[in-house]
């Protein structure tokens, strides 16, 4: 009793001494810089979005009110960009989360050479976007020299001109190839923390593999799947490099997503006001997702 008492006393003193360490100077640089990084561009984007501001036409300036927004909202390009953004996002999410879940279960089974197979299958995630996109565009999907074309010809089918005939499908394919390993990696990690006894018990009770998957594995993975969906959403809203080096948003505006539209407006048409309004829309979209993400991560945070 006495011992524990003195021990808790010393931690109390230690704790008090601890509080004597001034944490403000330690925190200030990180917090300050992050605050600036968040607030300055945000305020500037909002400000510009209400201005007439064109880099090549200095006479056209001043307060624009909601003009940039009304112009943007009545512009069919915005709606097609929004649709493209959501199609890209939705397709990649379905493919990577669905495929990732199945692959995670598969790669969690014991099999020959599992270590090496796992390394191979997660490798695409470490390929930089520009390399991934060009590798697919030139080496795999090229209508004449690509491997896929050769395979199709080999089995008697006519090759597909991927980026002309199926532009969005091609971008979805490339981006899914990059993000499937991400989903797999996260879900596999989550599976490994699963309670083996529970699984054994279910197997003893004669549960079949499919039943086990739906009633034990999937509920266990629910949180991890949520995190994957939300992390991917944040990144997929800004898919840019893959589009720039393959289709440049085309043909027409078939693969122009919100990120690419803002890029075109800002850096090719120099319409800062319009681009900023597009940026604000992207921020609003991301915030809807982020609110869910932060809440789900907060639940797991112990301080």
């Amino acid at each position: 009793m006495d011992m524990t008492h003195s021990a808790s006393l010393s931690t109390m003193i230690g704790g008090q001494k601890g509080r004597a360490v001034r944490t403000l100077p330690l925190m200030a640089p990180s917090v300050g810089l992050l605050f600036l990084w968040m607030i300055v561009p945000l305020v500037m984007t909002l400000w510009f979005s209400f201005q007439n501001y064109n880099l090549v036409d200095p006479t056209n300036n001043g307060f624009a009110g909601l003009d940039n927004y009304t112009y943007l909202i009545t512009d069919p390009a915005l709606w097609s960009a929004l649709v493209n953004t959501l199609v890209l996002l939705g397709s990649v999410l379905v493919i990577t989360v669905g495929g990732g879940t199945l692959l995670a279960v598969l790669f969690n089974q014991p099999f020959f050479g599992r270590g090496i197979a796992r390394v191979l299958v997660i490798s695409p995630f470490f390929v930089m976007p520009t390399v991934a996109a060009l590798m697919w565009k030139d080496l795999m999907m090229h209508p004449i020299y690509g491997v896929i074309s050769s395979v199709l010809r080999g089995i008697g089918l006519s090759p597909i001109d991927w980026f002309a005939d199926l532009p969005m499908g091609s971008v979805v394919l490339i981006v899914s190839w990059e993000w499937l390993p991400f989903a797999l990696l996260i879900l596999l990690t989550a599976l490994q923390s699963m309670d083996h006894e529970q699984k054994e018990a279910a197997r003893m009770d004669g549960a079949r593999a499919v039943t086990m998957f739906f009633f034990i594995t999937l509920p266990h993975l629910r949180r991890a799947i949520g995190v994957v969906v939300m992390m991917e959403t944040i990144f997929l809203l800004s898919v840019f490099a893959e589009i720039l080096v393959t289709t440049s948003g085309g043909p027409g505006d078939a693969t122009t997503n919100l990120a690419f539209l803002v890029y075109i407006k800002a850096l090719l048409q120099f319409d800062i006001g319009g681009a900023s309004a597009g940026g604000v829309i992207a921020i609003i979209l991301a915030n809807i997702v982020a609110a869910f993400l932060v809440r789900s991560i907060a639940r797991n945070l112990e301080v």
Partner: protein, 273 residues
């Protein structure tokens, strides 16, 4: 027993087939890098050919590959060092002296990651232009430092929390100042954690392609931007593209293989362990 073996065999075949399909584009690219331009576009595609280092040599001679690789190294390592230097004191303060606000601060830091780059492209571009930092390595170092700072703080925070408090307290009793405490006691103990945080940060910087494509063009261009220049439709340089790409992704892929566990923690902010 027999049946168990058969099941394992079937799983092996399916899993390996998927692994090979996923890895095939990378494998094919590495292979193409050792071909001549003529062999690279041969029809049907050749699996067996006379390997040559021609394309590697030409990528260096014509495009000065090493220069872009050097940019990539300077930018990723520079941004990583800055992020870690900023993150260590903050993570130390939050891990060892948590207050009521610590939880909120951590979540707020995370939320800064949620701002989509495209939403702030315009102001960052204009700020960099006015500061004369367009096509300047410093611009990317600044952006990447701030981009990775929340991840670094989070990861270091989780690693620091695993360091026994008693050891640090003992040092404090002996009169160590916070700076000494961090340098002499905490850092040596948390070195593996710091190393994996740095590794993750380098991987993310190396592969970042939104800001590098928008803020650099030639003199500060890292490999992501350099590789994008192969997308021009004039002439198809499959072998050279493959050679350049292979060296661009090789080091990071090895890093990635090494740090899978930390990667998961870092990318999910500790929500998946």
């Amino acid at each position: 027993m027999q049946q168990q073996f058969r099941q394992k065999l079937i799983i092996s075949i399916v899993a390996w087939a998927i692994a090979i399909i996923m890895f095939f584009p990378i494998f094919w690219m590495v292979l193409t890098g050792f071909k001549t331009e003529v062999d690279a576009v041969a029809s049907p595609p050749q699996l067996f050919f006379k390997p040559t280092l021609e394309s590697y040599a030409e990528v260096q001679q014509r495009a000065n590959y090493v220069f872009f690789a050097w940019n990539s190294i300077l930018i990723s390592v520079g941004a990583t060092i800055c992020a870690i230097l900023l993150a260590v004191p903050a993570a130390y303060a939050m891990a060892f002296f948590p207050t009521k606000r610590t939880r909120k601060t951590l979540l707020w830091m995370l939320s800064t990651k949620m701002l989509p780059p495209v939403g702030v492209l315009v102001p960052i571009y204009l700020l960099m232009r006015d500061a004369g930092l367009l096509d300047n390595r410093l611009a990317l170092v600044i952006v990447y430092t701030l981009m990775n700072l929340p991840i670094a703080v989070w990861l270091l925070f989780t690693f620091f929390k695993e360091v026994p408090h008693d050891i640090l307290e003992a040092g404090r009793m002996d009169g160590a100042k916070p700076r000494q405490e961090i340098w002499m006691i905490l850092l040596p103990l948390a070195l593996p954690g710091i190393a994996s945080t740095a590794l993750l940060s380098v991987i993310l910087c190396w592969n970042e392609a939104f800001w590098s494509l928008n803020l650099t063009s030639s003199s500060a261009a890292p490999l992501t931007t350099f590789i994008a220049s192969f997308s021009s439709p004039e002439g198809l340089f499959f072998a050279k593209l493959s050679a350049a790409s292979t060296i661009a992704i090789a080091p990071i892929m090895v890093f990635g293989w090494m740090s899978q566990k930390q990667l998961v923690q870092g990318l999910t902010f500790g929500a998946v362990k």
